[in-house]
């Protein structure tokens, strides 16, 4: 394999993503784990940029690093056990099994491996010669496909319903009139903050 500048950058970004991903699950300090998670997500954004998908790269930074990881850090900082360093996960065996299975499914779908093993209709048939299979090449295409019934309309609407349900649930949980026992309904200004 030729060593080009691209492959060097790819190796560095992969090492960053995988290494910090490993540290996320092995780190005993919750806060450190969150920081490694951010680093890992950053590596993924770099990989997107390397694949000339700047839109996905920037969305990765905006959504995952700028919003989700910061919310995780926010939650950890509000937890009293921030500095507890002996956190143990008793479910790590199950987690390893799920991770391995997920990896196997991804590999079998994205590479022609399963075709070689004789299973039809399993691999997504992406190949270097025919990159047009990948939908959503430009931003405008992506936007149109998002509301096109032939493409992603259903998942888009399902995600909207899910978010809506989460919003209503959050509003219900913090609403003092409903959260309190109906008989002991008291003034609702005290619990607000």
């Amino acid at each position: 394999m030729d060593i080009t500048a691209e492959s060097v950058v790819f190796l560095i970004l992969s090492a960053l993503t995988l290494g910090s991903g490993l540290l996320v699950v092995t780190s005993r300090n919750l806060f450190h784990a969150a920081l490694y998670l951010m680093l890992s997500l950053f590596g993924v954004a770099g990989l997107f940029a390397l694949l000339t998908a700047p839109f996905l790269a920037f969305v990765q930074v905006t959504v995952y690093i700028g919003a989700i990881a910061i919310l995780i850090i926010f939650a950890i900082m509000l937890t009293p056990q921030v500095t507890r360093t002996n956190a143990r996960n008793t479910q790590w065996v199950g987690a390893v099994v799920v991770a391995v299975v997920f990896f196997a499914v991804m590999v079998s779908v994205l590479t022609p491996l399963m075709d070689d093993l004789g299973a039809d209709d399993w691999s997504a048939d992406f190949s270097e010669e025919d990159p047009d299979d990948v939908p959503g090449t430009s931003l405008a295409d992506l936007g149109e496909q998002l509301v096109d019934p032939d493409y992603y309309m259903l998942p888009f609407e399902v995600a909207s319903v899910l978010l809506m349900a989460a919003l209503i649930g959050a509003a219900l949980m913090v609403s003092p009139a409903i959260a309190d026992d109906p008989e002991t309904e008291t003034g609702d200004d005290e619990s607000g903050g």
Binding site: P54, V61, G66, I70, L78
Partner: protein, 441 residues
């Protein structure tokens, strides 16, 4: 006029590898230089202008008008002792000022400072180069992504200092920035819709279809106002400087920082001011377009600089005028006022784009003007009828926007004039309201 003649060869810079590299190096260096100089002199501008607003003199000893004061401050900070608390998380403690500064600098990479210019080179050809570091086709998304990374600098600084005050400062800032980022992201959508492009260069060009009146601030003043307020919150400037509220948190997230590491936070704040002014100018105030820029592209950076300077003055002015908002009020403003208003602004522009397609330019311009008048009158009526004082009173007309002592310097006269201009529409509306009220009773 200076430019390539009929016979000369003009090459697009992007098609030549050497030109691309040279252009990237030169523009990066230029942006870096402009931002660092901008940082130094924004501190001086803030101190002098704030002093003028408070009837003080301000630093005027080092050099003419205190021009060398930033240099003196820089030398002082370099030689100060750099203390690291013994129980701080060292690696994060050292990294967080860097994480704060770098996004503030690189965020302006996608903003062009002028139209493309043709430059002669030694091989006899002319090269057409853009006046931005890089003009990516999703520049607006870049602005959003990079500004959101800056939060980490503050959060990590607060956490790694091992100090309760610093940690509270970091917590507050993360909550504040997440809240205001929503409104900011929504009003970033407005120029994207109007220009039907996410490239900052194309957004600026789209605002030049009609000189000056084509600026998006005239299409959607509500969105421009929300953007300015949200960006103030994003760079933690007064009245949104909760993360470092001195009375409550000593110095907030940078309590434990000293020497050059403190200077980096200081630098990030002022570079952030310059950067967000540049973003607002690019998205809503026509970018580099004004007067003769179309004929002389090299005038672009000059007008751009002038517009950024005016916005910086406004930011300092806001700090000199408004008191800090209480923290719960700040969250209330972000979620219950700014976010719904931002949604209204997006709908406003979406309807505007459809109307423009359906009924043509002239009628649409008339509708736009009517909408703006409605916006100004509506906010005036809302502000004057509200039972309590509003949380931000930047547009409240009854307040004398500038109150100064009786001296008659240049600054005083200018501020008085600006004050008159700002209050004029409100006074007219007030007179109309006063004439109508007796009839209703």
């Amino acid at each position: 006029m200076f430019g390539p003649s009929e016979s000369s060869v003009v090459v697009q810079c992007a098609s030549s590898g050497a030109c691309t590299v040279l252009h990237a190096i030169f523009t990066s260096g230029f942006v870096f230089f402009v931002l660092l100089t901008g940082f130094a002199y924004t501190t001086l501008l803030e101190r002098r202008f704030l002093a003028a607003l408070q009837s003080r003199v301000g630093p005027n000893r080092a050099g003419p008008f205190g021009m060398f004061q930033p240099v003196a401050d820089g030398i002082k900070l370099i030689f100060k002792e750099d203390v690291t608390p013994s129980l701080a998380k060292k690696a994060v403690f050292w990294l967080s000022p860097v994480i704060k500064v770098v996004p503030a600098i690189i965020v302006v990479a996608v903003i062009p400072f002028g139209p493309d210019v043709a430059i002669p080179w030694f091989d006899g050809k002319w090269y057409r180069v853009s006046q931005s570091v890089v003009d990516v086709n999703i520049g607006v998304l870049w602005l959003l992504a990079i500004t959101s990374v800056g939060i980490y600098g503050i959060v990590l600084a607060g956490w790694s200092s091992n100090n309760k005050y610093a940690m509270l400062g970091g917590l507050r800032s993360s909550a504040q920035m997440i809240s205001y980022e929503l409104s900011m992201g929504l009003v970033f959508v407005v120029p994207v819709m109007l220009a039907s492009s996410m490239s900052v260069g194309e957004i600026i060009e789209a605002q030049n279809k009609t000189p000056v009146l084509g600026w998006f601030v005239f299409q959607n003043p509500l969105a421009a106002t929300i953007l300015l307020v949200a960006l103030l919150a994003e760079v933690n400037r007064a009245p949104f400087d909760m993360p470092e509220a001195e009375q409550e948190l000593t110095a907030g997230y940078h309590s434990e920082y000293s020497g050059m590491k403190f200077a980096l936070f200081f630098m990030a704040e002022y570079i952030g001011m310059v950067a967000v002014s540049m973003i607002s100018v690019a998205l809503y105030f026509g970018g580099y377009h004004f007067l003769w820029v179309d004929q002389a592209p090299l005038l672009g950076p000059v007008f751009y600089g002038a517009k950024v300077f005016i916005l910086l003055l406004v930011m300092v002015w806001v700090r000199g005028t408004l008191p800090r908002i209480r923290y719960d009020r700040l969250m209330l403003l972000g979620w219950k006022v700014m976010l719904p208003l931002a949604l209204v602004a997006v709908v406003w522009s979406a309807v505007g784009v459809v109307l423009l397609d359906e009924i043509g330019q002239d009628f649409y311009a008339g509708m736009s003007v009517a909408g703006i008048v409605l916006f100004v009158l509506g906010s005036f009526i809302w502000l004057s009828r509200a039972g309590r004082k509003p949380d931000i009173s930047g547009t409240e007309p009854r307040v004398e926007v500038v109150s100064l002592s009786g001296n008659s310097g240049l600054a005083t006269t200018t501020l008085r004039a600006v004050d008159r201009v700002i209050r004029a529409p409100a006074e007219v509306a007030e007179r109309i309201a006063a004439r109508e009220t007796p009839g209703e009773d």
